[in-house]
Symmetry: C2
Subunit: 565 residues, 2 copies
């Protein structure tokens, strides 16, 4: 007898499971329920409607129920909400939201892919006002866009500077709006470390985003908001993008096990605590390959893998399950930022012993048009050298370096392994020794104690303590801007001027991107200076790091006036 | 006592070894001999001088001897040619090409990095004329550019359609010249397979390059050349880019072992048959990790790894040596092409049992500006699924997919491993199921016999044999152009029209990019059609494949008139 499969949720996870099930079984009866009016839309592209990059909202819908019927013989029922599950009877109760009737549908296998809900804290005064929006689907983005257009909204507050918040802010700026971006943490984009986030913050700031960090929304009014610090900010429309919460009600009411992270607990094959019920997508908790613990990761790529795996298991096809790594990328104006694996904060939380390197090669050969610095941070386990994560920020193709690292993590590579990596090179695409190679070589040197380094985040403290800092750039470079108390001894004069460098205290060296200062460190070590330390990231890194601090703090105590671009 | 290290050759390999040696040993005496007037120039960027992208020739020189002296305490002697090696005395004889004097220099360790010479077959009539050029260094490119400018050259023939030949052709076209590109083989860019090369050939053709394949240069005259077929082609200047030959004379005369491939034989640590002599760069033969045999790979990335390893070994630091994979990328007008590992021809030569998949996703979400088809071919071992190579061609970021595959090959991954890969996704950068995921899923399906496929290269034969071909695209798509004898049964009508499909003969299915036809194959299989075969690459692939053939053959016998863009 042929199987009857019910799927709750018609976007990434749900649609993927249904389609794969059909490919595996032409005879199965497959019904997909979607509460909203659309199945299979491009969630990740929603913000691009706000700038007109995606002009017509309907374009965001990739497939309609008719397509599912004709191409897959899948019964996709939009505006149909699954109200409850009777696990014993193996049935679900469904409400047709158009007609108002409810009906029952039985199943052999049930797949839950209801997704996650944008968080809307009721503690915020006015959070339910008509001018407050959250973005989950095509209807939401249409509503927001229409509201902004019809009311000639000029000032918009976006709350939450994660991926969606930044994309919404960028698209509104492109549309000529004034945008305040409010973030409760002290940096944007939590997947990035604080140091890497600064570079992107500068870009948002330079493009007119009014960034308000370490502050939270407390009140919404018709034409302004109030934040915790008491500041009032003009805003006729407010978009909440502070995170999502897995939509587990249906599963909870059915008595399915919910994990500690708040997502539905699933096994290797995405089976819930009921062997006939699967769950995939943003609603489940997943296993972090690196942290070796449960987490949530509401991303499209993993949802598709889970969908395929769930359908496979319904048909007894074995699955690989490597846990999740977490890779992502965002564009913010002219900059791109990509990450994979765990960042410093997550590694500390997971109790994993790590170190990191920070290199800034150009993204292509310097002679080529549009060559730009690529800020690349690679994190690895100590003492094993196993790769744990990476972050890249720059104007160029940062994502390609992150994809290489994501693949390296998947395949359990070490930094030593990557010193032998052979990536595609031509002057327009990369450098002969690219970011991945360079970072892995530096890491290998560090692991083997060939030199020592401090990160740019320590430089302020060094300057304040009046540490001995040598700037080994050429005189002209130094004169265009430098650390306030750095001594300038160009690498080209270093070997003749070693008598100016003390042997009885730590000596910190930097240049522009840490490459010349690395050579300087080794030259001094070879001349019996045994307390020399390279400033990883060097002047480029320092300026990026200190730049945004400048908005609030006294940058001129650290760096002389300088435009680091 | 401190070491004395001599290095022959001052570009990638030589300069890299010298610099790394200095970092490892502040006390060593290091002398680097370069026959030409420049050390450390960007060979790969040379062609970009011809279009003015690199305006000033001098910009191609990255470091001068003074830089080496000041920054590295390395004695870089340009215009100094090493004439011979006395291995017993451990000395070299050097000629100062400016003064004409010769002198002797002794060594503890000698590193050979003389590179490779462009091939200039003396069998070609007129090959030594003043209007014939080869490109190896800054002097060469300056000479060519100056000749073209001073003589108002309009018509140029580039012989050899490899990386350098294509880049020279492109840069001359950008400079408004008429360019004929002559290639003895039946396709451009040998690292690509024939099918993938067609896409790039169309791009060159569309941009006005007069491509002459399967033909060889026989005569050079003042204003034209003659090729083997007898054709005369206008050309006032001729650039030979038909390959390079390792410059082994010095090594041979010193009695060092030369490998079968013609390069100097080296061991794991790049030591030659003399324990005090190392060789790195284009002059050596390397070990192919995939083919498990010796080969030559004159590329910048591997040269840098070899340089570092040689210096390490001088100082007893152990090295990893994974052999070479071979990764490369090129831009040709609006298209990019990248490859890694072995292609079909190389796999056949190596006797490795393989299969391949060909997928054509978009390079970013279709809704985003500049989304374009990404032609991606993945080759893997049968039956192990181990990844052997990949090729990608398209307008977008093809290189990032190839870098992922190069990393997968380095780390011995299988197609099954890559089904779990988690790459950075956002609509502007990729698709949720990207090319790598998609190809590995298709390959895994093939390995598990879930369906069968034929490549686009077999379609002509199928059409000529009048095979039963079903085009499952929608009617409007079919009407815009189709295979001459394909039956149109859209996927959306397939399940109602199965009676139109025979069960007693093979049925070949295709759509636009093979995704709908894959669904159609599985649907038919589920309805007891057991001889259905998907055309991998589908209509997009067929059109690309047949397009260039059209220049010489009867494409209209295969495909109705159609602009496939």
């Amino acid at each position: 007898m042929s199987k009857k499969i019910l799927v709750v949720g018609g976007v990434a996870g749900g649609a993927g499971t249904a389609a794969r099930a059909r490919r595996l079984d032409e005879d199965a009866e497959i019904i997909m329920f979607e509460r909203g009016p659309h199945v299979s839309f491009s969630n990740c592209a929603l913000p691009y409607h706000l700038s007109g990059v995606v002009k017509d909202c309907d374009d965001l819908v990739l497939m309609c129920p008719t397509n599912f019927a004709e191409q897959y013989n899948i019964d996709a029922r939009v505006n149909n909400e699954v109200l409850s599950i009777d696990r014993e009877a193996k049935t679900v109760e469904v409400k047709n939201l158009k007609s108002g009737e409810t009906y029952t549908e039985d199943y052999d296998k049930l797949v839950l892919s209801p997704g996650a809900n944008p968080i809307k804290p009721q503690s915020i005064k006015g959070v339910n006002n008509d001018n407050v929006f959250t973005i989950r689907n095509v209807v939401d983005i249409d509503k927001l866009n229409t509201y902004v257009e019809e009311n000639d909204v000029e000032d918009i507050a976006v709350i939450g500077a994660g991926y969606i918040g930044i994309e919404i802010a960028e698209n509104f700026i492109h549309n000529g709006k004034n945008v305040a971006l409010v973030e409760a943490m002290d940096q944007i984009l939590q997947p990035l470390d604080y140091d890497m986030a600064q570079i992107l913050q500068k870009e948002l700031h330079d493009n007119g985003v009014n960034m308000i960090l370490s502050d939270a929304l407390t009140e919404v009014h018709d034409d302004h908001i109030v934040v915790e610090s008491g500041k009032k900010i003009d805003a006729e429309a407010v978009v909440l993008a502070i995170g999502v919460s897995p939509e587990t009600e249906l599963a909870e009411e059915a008595g399915l096990k919910i994990g500690k992270t708040g997502g539905i607990e699933v096994n290797h094959n995405y089976v819930t605590s009921d062997p006939d019920i699967y769950a995939v997508g943003d609603v489940i908790e997943v296993y972090s390959k690196i942290a070796r613990s449960k987490t949530r990761l509401p991303l499209a790529g993993p949802a598709q893998r889970q969908a395929r795996a769930a359908a496979n298991h319904i048909y007894n096809i074995p699955n690989k399950n490597n846990g999740v790594i977490g890779s992502s990328v965002i564009r913010a104006f002219d900059y791109n930022a990509a990450t994979t694996g765990l960042n410093e904060k997550q590694l500390k939380d997971a109790g994993i012993s790590y170190d990191f390197v920070y290199v800034i090669p150009t993204d292509k050969v310097g002679l080529m048009p549009d060559a730009n610095p690529l800020h690349f941070k690679l994190l690895y386990e100590v003492p094993t050298g196993k790769i744990l994560g990476a972050q890249a920020v720059g104007k160029g193709n940062v994502d390609k370096r992150i994809d290489v690292i994501a693949t390296s993590i998947l395949l359990d590579a070490t930094v030593e392994d990557l010193t032998e990596s052979e990536l595609a090179y031509a002057p327009l695409f990369s450098t002969p020794r690219n970011a991945v190679n360079q970072a892995s070589l530096v890491a290998t040197n560090l692991i083997n104690n060939r030199f020592r380094q401090v990160p740019v985040s320590k430089v302020r403290e060094l300057v304040e303590k009046d540490a001995f800092i040598v700037d080994v750039r050429e005189k002209e470079e130094y004169e265009m801007g430098h650390l306030v108390n750095a001594v300038n001894i160009p690498l080209s004069e270093l070997r003749e001027r070693t008598d100016e460098i003390p042997k009885d205290q730590p000596v910190y060296l930097h240049c522009r991107s840490a490459q010349r200062s690395y050579n300087a460190c080794l030259a001094l070590q070879g001349r019996d200076f045994d307390n020399v330390i390279n400033i990883s990231g060097s002047f480029l890194g320092i300026c990026c790091y200190e730049y945004f601090l400048d908005q609030t703090t006294d940058r001129d105590k650290i760096v002389t006036e300088y435009n680091f671009e």
